[in-house]
């Protein structure tokens, strides 16, 4: 764990180089690839003004993950609101091949369920699924390392129940439409 670099902008650059790829991979689960780049860029911009930049590397990357996740979730909500408006106004949607459309639909379903979870549970799920360790998750969502298991267990139970419920609803709708 390196200590703060005496020249802040050099430190920022070095953090950007080392953290960018993993941050983009993380937020790509929440937003589209192009937006993921934007979100990460915005997180870096915010970092440049934030006092956390004087803290050790581990704390800075945890802060970046937290910020990028929040930004991505906010943006995903904006996008889904926009789509809902577009659908109401019957604006043409970009044409996707059928399979991709189904996949987008499924992704949207998963994200909608994630959106119903409390912030910490949602971030905990995404981070764990992206392969972050319990210690990294604790640091990112700012809870005690010993609480990660409990948060994860609660998050998975809540997610499963909401997710299966949403599919039961879909199945009923399918049935009614037949």
């Amino acid at each position: 764990m390196a200590s703060a670099d005496p020249v802040p902008h050099l430190r920022l650059e070095s953090i950007m180089r080392s953290a960018r790829a993993s941050l983009v991979a993380l937020v790509r689960r929440i937003v589209d690839p192009a937006e993921a780049e934007d979100v990460v860029q915005e997180a870096f911009v915010r970092l440049s003004d934030d006092p956390v930049l004087d803290r050790p590397d581990g704390e800075v990357t945890a802060w970046l993950r937290r910020t990028a996740l929040n930004l991505a979730f906010n943006r995903a909500r904006d996008v889904s609101r926009w789509r809902a408006r577009a659908a109401r106004a019957e604006l043409p949607e970009p044409v996707d091949p059928a399979a991709e459309a189904v996949r987008s639909d499924e992704k949207a379903g998963v994200r909608a369920v994630l959106d119903q979870l409390p912030d910490k549970q949602r971030s905990c799920l995404l981070l764990r699924h992206a392969g972050y360790s319990f210690a990294e998750i604790a640091e990112t969502i700012d809870i005690a390392p010993g609480s990660v298991g409990t948060t994860l267990a609660r998050a998975e139970r809540a997610f499963k129940n909401l997710y299966l419920e949403s599919h039961a609803d879909d199945a009923r709708t399918d049935q009614e439409n037949r």
Binding site: P33, R103, E106, G131, S147, G149, D170
Partner: protein
Amino acid sequence: MMMTMTCPDEGTLRAFLDRADADHATLAAHIRGCLDCRRAVRELRLNASVTADALGLLDPVAEPVAAVADGAYAPIDPPVRPRRWGRIATGAAAVALTVGLVLTPTGQAVAGGLLDLFHSRSVTGVTISNADASQVATVMEKLGVATGTPDTAFSTLGSVAEAQAKVSFPVATPRASDIPADVATTPTVDYLAASDMTVTFDAAKTAAYLAASGSSVTVPAGLDGEKLVLHFPDAVALDYAGSNDKRLMVVSAGAFQASTVGPLDLSQLRDFLLNVPGVPTSLTNQLGSVDLAAGALPLPIPIDQVRGTKTTLNGHSAILVSSSGIGSALLWQSGDRLTGVAGTYSTDVVTKVAKGLNG
């Protein structure tokens, strides 16, 4: 010691599942001896598995690998569109799961006992979606009570020799020259103890389920109290890890065995189970054509994300599975050993490792 240990809280059990707990061996020993904890772990594992399936949909998608050529399994009932929550977790998890399908019937004992009603001598492929596998497990719960959980807690040993001393089958090891350059040359050696799971059938419960389903299937005489005992073999996994999630795993396991205690024999039980409503027809159709008498292990291939192809390896029938952008795995049985090679590599690399195995 393990009798006096207080039951760990839910968070500790969840950490245990991911091997993020402080004292894995002690906890594993406690869980093995504690019914409440085993139940809790089963529920946590199911929650984790459904969540991982769903979140897998959000994984960044890599470029698809070329389709597996000849004889790719076509699902009996090709889905018009992908199942919504029938996808397996991607990334390293998929590779682990592919191997796990052989070793650790994924917590809910994928398909309960249905797929393992015999002593395996060879492998054959049965395509199954995760949703269907979960459904089978759900149906099994309506028919009786399962006790014992297949042990899924690997313990890490110091060397291959130490692992070899614990198991009766020869532990397969890859030729040094076949190990990809981007993973460690020395593996982590993990050992999984053999375990049993027993399903005790309950005639009243079964009758109630059949009636509720409007089924004309009748409860076979003698079903009440009949036990189906599934023996999950011990296994040794050599795990070669590298940077950027590169991974190669060579897994050796004993054979699956199943037996019954009660008036019904395995084939009678199987015939009944395949007719129980709720068991997906795509599965029963396929299982109906598997030669159980010859000891063919119907290996569930998760069709949602993995392609499976029948092939042969050093004269044994084998299953080659590959998954877009994730990796591939080869599984076969020779004698009483079930062997699997899986990795984040092409089928060529995995096949080369498999062909060159020692032991």
